[in-house]
């Protein structure tokens, strides 16, 4: 159980610029094994950039990012699974082949990869849609397939970039409950970027509030009932509402 006690993720003094545009400034954040960390902040504060940095898709201009103790970009790329904002399902593959992409990339035969993915299709309420093309799926189903695709990669760290931003309010609440359940049964160290404070506080153990660009962390809040089975009860509870107000306050202060 060596891994469970280790710090999985360590972001230390990270700064980043795109040319002259300063996106992140001396940002420090750490995550433990199986901890779900939320990142909320105003639009354009560098949340998505931070995710790409963690996943080894970008390199920081200053500071270090270590995943399971290694800070090399290749190691980060190997250990983090990035789920982009849009589902980005490839339209030429069926739902199951999309979900199994990571296995195929690892060299698994198509038939075996499908069998492995099919097991999860049942668990995530996608049974019967294995052969469907992405265009035949609803928004919520597409997002679930995209999440499966990220999960099947089998990486210790999940990096989710506003996974439910494109969904309507009802589907969104359902998907939050679904993701909470998925993380309860299969806990992973997760960073979740969202602009929805309620979503962050419901799904995450800890929520970091970022300032406007260049993004820094202005507050870290502990969620009272992370991933509670009764979502509606959890988000209307007085403790939850109080923390949500705190987060909103920090967000407003940081946006100035």
């Amino acid at each position: 159980m060596r891994q469970d006690t280790r710090v999985k993720l360590e972001i230390a003094g990270v700064g980043h610029s795109y040319g002259d545009l300063r996106t992140l400034d001396s940002l420090t954040l750490a995550g433990e094994a199986h901890e779900v960390i939320g990142l909320v902040g105003p639009s354009g504060c560098g949340k998505s950039t931070l995710l790409e940095l963690v996943c080894g898709l970008l390199e920081p201009s200053e500071g270090t990012i270590a995943v399971e103790g290694d800070s090399g970009p290749e190691e980060r790329l190997r250990r983090c699974a990035f789920m982009p904002q849009r589902d980005l399902l490839l339209p030429w593959y069926s739902a199951i082949d999309n979900a199994a992409l990571a296995l195929r990339n690892q060299g698994t035969k198509r038939a075996e990869a499908r069998i492995a993915a099919a097991a999860l299709f049942d668990r995530f309420g996608l049974a019967g849609f294995e052969a469907a093309r992405p265009t035949e799926l609803s928004g919520g189903m597409r997002q679930r397939v995209a999440f499966l695709r990220t999960l099947i990669a089998g990486k210790p760290v999940l990096a989710l970039d506003e996974p439910f931003a494109s969904l309507d309010a009802i589907t969104r609440a359902e998907m939050q409950e679904w993701l909470a359940a998925a993380l309860r049964t299969d806990p992973r160290t997760t960073i979740l970027v969202t602009h929805d404070v309620e979503e962050a506080l419901y799904l995450c153990d800890r929520v970091a509030v970022m300032s406007a660009r260049p993004g820094r962390i202005v507050a870290e809040l502990t969620a009272p009932h992370p991933r509670a089975p009764d979502r509606d009860g959890a988000v209307t509870d007085a403790g939850f509402v109080a923390v949500r107000e705190q987060a909103m306050h920090a967000l407003r202060e940081g946006s100035r």
């Binding site: 983090c80 990035f82 789920m83 982009p84 980005l88 992409l101 990339n105 990669a153 990096a159």
Partner: protein, 250 residues
């Protein structure tokens, strides 16, 4: 049904009008020509039937030039596009050249190419390939450039090698655009083949049209034009059919 019926009716009406104009001698009178220089559709059909083996022989020659030319342009063009997509420097250097290559009219250089490559098949293939190279290369490159950079990131994060990323995410995304290029190539290829034959050859549909001019065999010339056009239409049909089988997600 309607999709086929309407154009078919229009064609029939136009042919009928043409036939009528010929039997009344309206066109020949207007142009002050002998009647035999303005053949009617039925005369052209007769010529088509009577010259069927001659036309087939020459059509086969031209078809081979077209197919080899398109194949050569496809291999070189797609190869070029992939390299230019992969290496930015190469694209910056070569793209203006690819565009510039298209400003040289094929009519002007085909005699030179015939001098270089002779009267045989090679010169024709080179000329057809030159005319097809541009639409294939540019469309393939546009297709590759239209790939969502986010899906490339997603593939990288899913452990894809560059090669896997290309085959699974980039190449399929570029396919519809590539097919557009091939369709344009198929349309212009017969033009290239005819020019190539006019620059020097002893067979082919272009050659036949040219040599018939000397004997005022206008009916056979029309029949040849019909065969050439039918050839191009069949090729477009085949490409469209393949596209529908391959690009199933649109």
């Amino acid at each position: 049904m309607r999709r086929w019926l309407l154009p078919a009716l229009l064609i029939l009406a136009l042919l009928g009008l043409w036939q009528l104009a010929c039997s009344l001698g309206v066109i020949a009178d207007a142009l002050s020509l002998e009647d035999f220089l303005v053949p009617s559709p039925s005369e052209i059909a007769t010529s088509l039937w009577e010259n069927r083996s001659l036309l087939a022989e020459n059509a086969w020659v031209t078809l081979r030039e077209i197919l080899f030319g398109i194949a050569a342009a496809f291999v070189v063009g797609v190869g070029f596009a992939v390299f230019m997509h992969r290496w930015q420097v190469l694209r910056d250097a070569a793209y203006p050249l690819v565009v510039a290559s298209q400003t040289i009219p094929i009519v002007v250089i085909s005699p030179i190419l015939v001098v270089w490559f002779g009267y045989g098949l090679t010169a024709k293939v080179v000329i057809v390939a030159l005319i097809c190279f541009f639409p294939i290369t540019v469309n393939a490159l546009d297709g590759l450039r239209s790939v969502d950079p986010e899906s490339v990131k997603m593939m990288r994060s899913l452990g894809a090698s560059r090669w896997q990323c290309f085959w699974r995410a980039e190449a399929p995304a570029a396919l519809p655009s590539l097919f557009t290029g091939v369709k344009i190539a198929v349309v212009v290829a017969p033009i290239g083949a005819v020019f190539a034959e006019w620059s020097g050859s002893s067979s082919g549909l272009g050659h036949l049209i040219q040599s018939d001019t000397a004997y005022y065999l206008v009916d056979r010339q029309f029949a040849t034009v019909f065969v050439l056009s039918a050839l191009a239409l069949i090729l477009i049909g085949i490409v469209a059919l393949v596209e529908r089988r391959v690009v199933t997600w649109r």
